[in-house]
Symmetry: C2
Subunit: 387 residues, 2 copies
């Protein structure tokens, strides 16, 4: 028989998409956020409960796709001018929102008598905000254009750069040699890429679309061009050292003033199909078994509480000049940690610095902070138009 | 480091999509079909020329997705009433278009002094039409609504059922035991599934969409419902023994009279992003090295010529009652063999009945018949509206 069954793809689509939408509907009826329902769907169909699916290459590819297209769509809604206006404040938010969680995480671990390297790894795993959940929740609330939302999106980009540098620092430290020039180079490339795209992206894209679109003969020209730019910037982002979703977001923003409605709808289709794979994927990775051990459970509770409070306080502090209400909104919006924290823990595990139960705790921290954000965001952001 | 690099997904998307669209543009400018350009793009970036990518799980998952969504989109354009009208004639076309290629393939192999089982396998591998290419080419020509196009689409569904039965017959024969009841059961289930969906799909879907859509609270309700039906029918199709794309096509047709324009555009986005993976994937699998051996080259030429002529003659003969022009159109539309033939060869190889060079010949036959179809279709179908 062929290596891959013809059932693999349609069955994965049916299970993840179908159960995610079913749970979203149930959660909405219970007046809870639909995206939380989709994460819970992952817990249900995953290895914890029903064993229908477990994390695999295809599911994580679909999840990556969903995330790339989500951030592209969010970028399409953001005007570079208002993003730049949020820039200075956002960098302050990002810096405070990186330092405090790192110190909290590393501090808890040191008090728990973990080694210095181990403590640093957990600290770094608590640093990176996963903006996907917040972006989706804000889009559903119709709140993407509010000042606090703009600061969150901009801060998430800086946050990603800072998280990357922290990871580079701690891994080189764990290897026993810190190379300051390498770190500086990484920082310059990442920041340079972001700044260049931010400042030159829009005029360049307007020119490209206006001049190239009518000259090409392939069908769906504008969509094809938009996709090539999206994929190219996602790849460049990785080469510049940041996450592909940063490139996707910047690509969207660069095109926010040039592409027509049809491109929005077509990319919307891709996002709708694949986003459930990202959301359910988070739930699917949760390993409840590690919490049978009370000491692990206690440490996990501390880490999770620390992750929530430190990000809320750090980012809120950074945004205090916006007034208390908006500072709270920004703080809440930055709470979710996602795949980035898990990647840090994975690297630590691969280097032999992070034991299995600590990896489980980082995953639990990611899942819980992600689950906590949408209801909190609903509470602090006004709902502009119901859907 | 994590098992999967963050570069994998964006880089695959950039290479396949970017090069496919570039080649499509070049081919269109040379007045050649764009889809042929996208297949050639696969040859270029694949292991034959540039070595940028080679067939892997993720690429084939994206290819499956593209095919499922393509057939769904084609289904959306077809009204069940006109499809049913084409039914009787289409079944005649399918039967003639299965018998003649099987006899031709098996005959060539027997004359080549291959074993009986080997000859049967190659015969079966030459049976199944890959309707994806034809559907895409007809859609680009704006010719999906012509009578010949309707006959091709309907015949491709029957063809898939017949191909499945032929495969079941030849594998049970190779295993040394033909079980007539099992074969009969498979036939009844496959035909039953198709007939039920064909006759009851439209009214059921109209009722579901009309009653359920306004009652659900999740966003993009109609799109979500359409996707669940699409994925469910694709899964059911596999359980019924046919290819998932048959289910996808039937799902599209069942909804062709009920869903709104927006769902067309959103599914169009998914199709546009992933179809290049299917097209380039065909090119990527071509192994030019086996043709260094002149005897293999001769056999391949015979098989390819036999595949084209036998399908053209068989299907054309079956459609002769439509007049010569339409019979020619139907015959040309049924020429492309795709993934199905490769799957047959793969099964044969896994059973130890098909040697490596014969597998390469089957792949070459699929690629060449697929490359040949779009220019031929352009020649025999009138172009309704240029794009």
């Amino acid at each position: 028989m062929p290596v891959e069954s013809p059932l693999t793809i349609p069955l994965s689509l049916l299970i993840i998409f179908g159960v995610a939408k079913l749970m979203a509907e149930i959660f909405e009826r219970l007046r809870l956020p639909g995206i939380v329902g989709e994460i819970v769907a992952g817990v249900l169909v995953g290895p914890q409960v029903l064993h229908w699916l477990e994390p695999n290459t295809i599911l994580s590819a679909f999840s990556d796709l969903g995330l790339i297209f989500l951030l592209f769509r969010v970028g399409l809604e953001v005007r570079p001018s208002s993003f730049r206006r949020a820039g200075k404040l956002a960098s302050l938010v990002a810096v405070c929102g990186v330092i405090l969680p790192f110190l909290t995480g590393a501090g808890i671990m040191l008090l728990w008598r973990a080694s210095f390297v181990e403590s640093c790894f957990i600290g770094v795993a608590m640093v990176a905000t996963s903006v996907g959940i917040t972006a989706k929740a804000l889009a559903e609330q119709g709140a993407l254009h509010m000042p606090a939302a703009q600061v969150i999106l901009a801060a998430a980009v800086y946050d990603d750069i800072l998280g990357l540098l922290a990871l580079a620092l701690v891994t080189s430290f764990a290897r026993g040699a810190v190379r300051p020039f390498e770190l500086l180079f990484t920082a310059v490339v990442a920041i340079g890429f972001t700044m260049l795209t931010l400042h030159w992206g829009t005029p360049v894209m307007q020119r490209i679309l206006r001049h190239l679109s009518p000259r090409l003969r392939i069908s769906e020209t504008e969509f094809a061009l938009a996709m090539v730019v999206l994929f190219a910037l996602s790849v460049l982002a990785v080469f510049a050292g940041v996450a592909p979703i940063v490139g996707a977001f910047l690509a969207g923003m660069a095109m926010s003033e040039s592409v027509e409605r049809r491109v929005h709808d077509m990319t919307g289709g891709v996002t709708e199909v694949f986003l459930p794979f990202f959301l359910a994927g988070i739930g699917m990775r949760l390993d409840l078994a590690i919490f049978r051990d009370t000491s692990t459970l206690l440490l996990a509770s501390l880490i999770i509480a620390g992750a929530i409070v430190s990000k809320l306080a750090g980012c809120g502090l950074g945004a205090l000049s916006m007034g208390r209400t908006d500072a709270l909104r920004v703080g809440v919006g930055m709470i979710p940690r996602g795949e980035v924290g898990m990647v840090v823990a994975q690297i630590g595990a691969a280097m032999g610095v992070i034991p299995h139960n600590l990896y489980g705790i980082v995953v639990a921290m990611s899942v819980v902070t992600t689950l906590a954000a949408p209801p909190l965001l609903r509470a602090v952001f006004p709902r502009k138009h119901p859907d």
